[in-house]
């Protein structure tokens, strides 16, 4: 999956979370989403704010996990 596609999908997730008046990213929901959509299995240590807190970090994280970067 190319970086633009990943960015678009993550943007859609963040827009949805923002529309629910959820200013901070919802970590567990995001973790579930990553496993479901990208097939990235997370262990407990990876579910933390430094990795999953921001859109840019998320995209990089996914690219890294998928072996694209």
């Amino acid at each position: 999956m190319d970086k633009t596609a990943i960015d678009n999908i993550i943007s859609e997730l963040r827009e949805m979370q923002k529309s629910r008046d959820c200013p901070e990213i919802d970590l567990l929901e995001t973790a579930m989403f990553l496993e479901d959509v990208f097939g990235i299995s997370l262990d407990e240590s990876e579910i933390d704010t430094s990795l999953l807190g921001h859109r840019a970090d998320l995209s990089a994280f996914i690219s890294c996990k998928l072996g694209d970067s």
Binding site: N8, I9, E12, L13, M16, Q17, S19, R20, D26, L28, E29, T30, A31, M32, F33, E35, D36, V37, S41, D43, E44, I47
Partner: protein
Amino acid sequence: MCGICGIFDTSGSPVRRETLDAMTYSLRHRGPEARGIWQERGIGLGHARLSIIDLATGDQPMSNEDASLWISFNGEVFNYLELRDELIARGHIFKTTSDTEVILHGYEEYGTDFFRRMNGQWALALWNTGRRELLLCRDRVGIAPLFFTSVSSKGGRRILFASEPKALFRDPGVPRELDPRGLAESFTFWTTVAPRSVFKGIRELPPGRWIRFTEGSEQEGSYWELRFPHRSAETAGSAAEHARHLRETLVEATRLRFTRSDVPVAAYLSGGIDSSVTTAIIRNFTDARIKTFSLRFADAEFDEGGYQELMVSRLGTDHEALRVTNRDIGEVFPDVVEQAEKPLLRTAAAPMFLLSRFVRDSGYKVVVTGEGSDEMLGGYDIFREALVRDFIARDPESALRPEIIRHLYPWLQRNPAAAPAFARSFFSQSLDPADPALSHRPRWQSASGIMRLLNPDLQNEFEEYQAADDLLQRMPEGADDWHPLSRAQWLEITTLLAGYLLASQGDRMLMAHGVEGRFPFLDPDLVDLATALPPRYRIMGLDEKYLLKYAFADLVPEQILRRPKQPYRAPDAGSFFTDEPEWLKEIIEPRQLRTSGVFNPQAVESLMQKCRRKKGQGMSNFDNMAVTAVLSTLLLQRQTAGSS
């Protein structure tokens, strides 16, 4: 919609006119405007008509030009004008302007392949005079009902079919008994699943299928099957692109259902997103004020009046609301069961019965509703549960993952004491990611607790019949490779949508008073679109019906788009025990219970005592379900035995 029925005697013996008349008459609530019978050697078709398209020349049963093909049809073909033009271009000559005649000519031209081209809702019977062949067919998702049975006759058998089982009971050869396996399904899935019905020997034609009877054979086939793509098959396109496509498809589906009618069409406006969207779309197709109807509940816990008023004021509809009390529900419940002809685990059908009567009394006989949206576009909590249970099942040792349940049920945060018990019950049940019913096990296991109230003989019989295993064997090939959300949707559409929401709470309540429901969210193009959507566009994270909200954000107020999901419900035990109706005392009288033989009298008495003590208030979810199931089953058994 109408009522259809018929008899095919494979021996060629004449069909009894009295039986055919009685069958047709028993369906008069479905079609109060005309009744028609046609018969010849060994065959008879009946029709009770609700006139909606072609009021002048659409009477049935109807034949083609040379009377070699006859039809009795219940439903609508919304694309009949387009199909008619095409058939005329191929040389067919029409004598009416009805959609019924389009089926006759379409079947002549294409055979059963024609059903695939019909956009509509139907149950129909076609008789081919030359081949002496009876064909029954039903729409894709089960909007229109169709039951059939066969009984021995001299030198052959009589095949009987009808829109409702009560018509079949007009033949004295049809047994009037409840089927224990039908009860087992009802007390697991909240409904029987076609082809099984709750009556011994009576089958329901499954949605999307046809069956053909000749003098010596019976052949079944399907022209459509509910399927989802392989989990890894991703449809290209962004949310914006999919939303645009969804919007175009739903607008066209709604236009067809609003404009293809020769009588005025109204709309149900529940206060939820789905009917708000369809009503907002309808507004673009008429200059007149739209007539809308809704239910209000005296009990504030169930009332959605605030949201309804918000939408009425935004759209400026000519709105009428029917206010329903607990007492109304209790009093009308026997009539509701008589129409539903199934055990009911909830009373929610009763207000729908009262609403359709109100609609008919107001001079309308067609309504557009939002039914089907939750199933197709991912609106139910059970779908969100499917995702959450799948997430947790992938790492059952995780301490963090179960925390996500708080996002599913925010009330758990307000009531931390309830959380551990709820989480235990939620996660301890069959948490196997390979289980195709991962989503539905907790609901089925909870409902099947009702079987503990049955008499011991029946309980033993159920131990040998596992309704869930039977259903799962019928999942389409390849379903193991579907996304968990898709599997959950298949189960929900196959069980609760077809058997309960469109039937006991849908067609049967609407048609009890001759009102036709039309369902844009069940348009075949929309169903194809919805099932092919990437799962994340049905539920994004845990946001249900994501794409629908995205696509129609400009038509529906923010308060409705973002309101917490509230399934339509009505008071259960509170309707029977706040102010006990007369029929209730009679039906749970100990001698009656013993004679009935379905339930264990002591167990039922204990449940009833609890309900009486609490006046039906503050009962547990299970007790509400159980008391409704017991009372409806006892009523159904008595009504069936008394049919004559």
